[in-house]
Symmetry: C2
Subunit: 385 residues, 2 copies
């Protein structure tokens, strides 16, 4: 006999819900898409930070993952992941931690765009008797990190030579992230960014190869470019992350549909403010985050969108109009009278997160829910540093 | 022999530093000020979420504290705090948790502005054989929660009667929070808000007393109003919180001086982007938060301000101009060339947080530092729900 499982409506609030069927579908579709495009999928685990999710995300591919902190790397290495790319510019002072992680897994791949960082990392790795694969970060329009394959071609080659010459480093390849795709205003715009990302990182690889340097891995990817790239010639692996969950940002740029958002925040109504026309809930700036990215595309997005029928926004577009630390205020666009009777005190509300990487980071675990809203599991997350 | 203590410069980054001397000074000054004004200090622990900090903050007063989550209440009750006010509108479904906390401490005080919530809480508390003190939330201009003492005087009295009549509840008093003080553009503006906060909550108390209802506690307070209130006649306790740490927001409204900001984020330089004139660090939107509140007062505040000499911003006003999840980008106002040579890769940088309540919540602990920058302790925090 199977014990009756609790419905998520009975959970303490605020908490993070994860719809397993949607997650599985998102993971499967991306894995299939990457196979079809002829590249390996190295999913970025910075969003999910969960071994259970990583197992689903790597299914059908080679098992490699991407992380954004060494704490994530440590957590995943402990849980059997053996090919980990730490995709944030490496600071040589972190070499001790990196060595400890390398001892647990098969490999930890480092990233740099700096001669100084690479040189110092080589010295420190050698002192520890260690050797690390290292990739060169390339900028294909994001403007955050990385060397420009056009204006800094010489620097790319020089850095490649330094890594190649270092006995304690191994030149693994080139890496880029077209973060500007998050601001793509249309599918056509994202397709163009995807092609720029591909062409730029492939050009960087060609620069190294033309000098006789080895460049086995050509790594690219963000969720929007992985979703819309029309071809990935010359790219060997892609590193999308947020596609596993989706969020308001991704829905508004057309990178996922609303009913493919797997993660929502469950909250309780704690009051009605008739004077300000706001329904007050117990999920505020901490439970939702203060990311207001979607305002770029839709002014009535605030700090999150209320989930309606069929996993879509409500017809009245009720949204989180304001937050303080533990309070959220639901309102309607234009400040219209909200549907008070539908949301009495104690009523549960689900909120689509604006930017799920930020929202999930405030929570220690996911409550995993099945098709009937039953809570089937609680999965951990590795937050912090 | 005392072991040599590590300097904070050797800590892994990003991490949260807490300057003990500044914290102690901030706590002492507020405690003295509240004594002088004739009110009890019930510090709000939603910012610090730390028992060690709570011990310093309650020194010289009666030991009562304020919390923003039941998880905080549980944590503090376990650590010997016996008088806890949960200052977020109570949802009746949380009664089981509240009862468990009440069993550990002497009292857990609840808050409401809703007839429906109070009535249902009374029913559920009675079923558990429990009795809870309850306060009525009053709005004195913040516009988030609470009843208006002018336009909703009747509702305040009606709610007071309901609580008073309930065998499972005890009417403890009235409570307000002038959250609008965070947007006070001058000391004079904050003084006016403080007087409005005082007058409004005292008026609400008078409404109850005029009906023969008991109202022993008249609770007010935010950090800016506690700092600048010129008189607190009729108020019995104040609940400031962020004053313990301070942040860019508080410095810009004049509620603390820059050198009295006790909490900073320590980061490492991970790269130089010469094309965009940005110094890249390993503290991004998660380690700093995406709170951009200070932009209301100063456009060049971004996501945090770099600490310079003497615990003040640098003369060049280097600040965190952009963030992504794990990357921060330091830039100068006007996009001027930053001082590259002062910040080589690997260099440590300290950042004043925009809004320390949000920033601290991403970190699991404080690294407590002494006068010479030595790390003397690591103090925990109770995050999540």
């Amino acid at each position: 006999m199977i014990a009756a499982m609790e419905h998520f409506d009975a959970l303490p609030t605020p908490c993070l819900l994860l719809d397993r069927a949607v997650l599985e579908s998102n993971c499967r579709l991306m894995a299939e898409r990457m196979t079809k495009l002829g590249v390996r999928l190295r999913p970025h685990m910075k969003t999910a930070k969960s071994a259970e999710v990583a197992r689903l995300a790597t299914a059908g591919h080679f098992g490699g993952i991407t992380v954004s902190t060494l704490k994530e790397a440590h957590y995943f290495a402990e849980r059997g992941f053996k090919d980990i790319l730490y995709a944030v510019g490496f600071v040589p002072s972190k070499i001790g931690e990196a060595a400890a992680i390398q001892e647990m897994g098969d490999q930890l791949i480092l990233l740099t765009d700096s001669m100084a960082a690479a040189a110092e990392t080589a010295i420190r790795a050698a002192k520890l008797g260690r050797k690390f694969p290292m990739m060169i970060e390339i900028d294909t329009g994001d403007g955050r990190c990385g060397l420009d394959p056009d204006s800094e071609a010489g620097a790319i080659v020089e850095l490649g030579r330094l890594i190649d010459r270092s006995a304690a480093l191994e030149l693994r390849g080139v890496l880029t992230h077209a973060g500007q795709s998050y601001h793509g205003a249309s599918v056509e715009a994202i397709k163009a960014i995807a092609e720029g990302e591909r062409a730029g990182v492939v050009k960087a690889a060609a620069l190294l190869r033309a000098e006789g340097l080895s460049c086995p891995v050509v790594s690219a990817g963000s969720t929007p470019t992985a979703r819309y790239a029309e071809g990935l010639d010359g790219v060997t692996e892609m590193r999308p992350g947020v596609y596993m969950f989706g969020d308001v940002d991704q829905a508004l740029i057309g990178s996922c549909s609303w009913d493919h958002i797997a993660v929502t925040v469950l909250a309780s109504v704690i009051g009605h403010n008739k004077r300000t026309r706001r329904i007050v809930i117990d999920a505020g700036g901490l439970a939702l985050s203060k990311d207001i990215g979607p305002a770029e595309f839709d002014a009535d997005t605030g700090y999150g969108t209320v989930v309606g029928e069929g996993g879509k926004p409500r017809a009245d577009r009720l949204y989180v109009a304001a937050v303080s630390q533990e309070h959220g205020q639901l309102g309607l666009p234009g400040g219209k009278e909200p549907p008070w009777d539908e949301f009495p005190v104690g009523e549960r509300v689900r909120i689509f997160p604006n930017h799920v990487c930020m929202t999930a980071a405030a929570h220690n675990s996911y409550r995993v829910i099945g098709a009937a809203g039953e809570v089937t599991d609680e999965w951990d997350r590795v937050n912090g540093w």
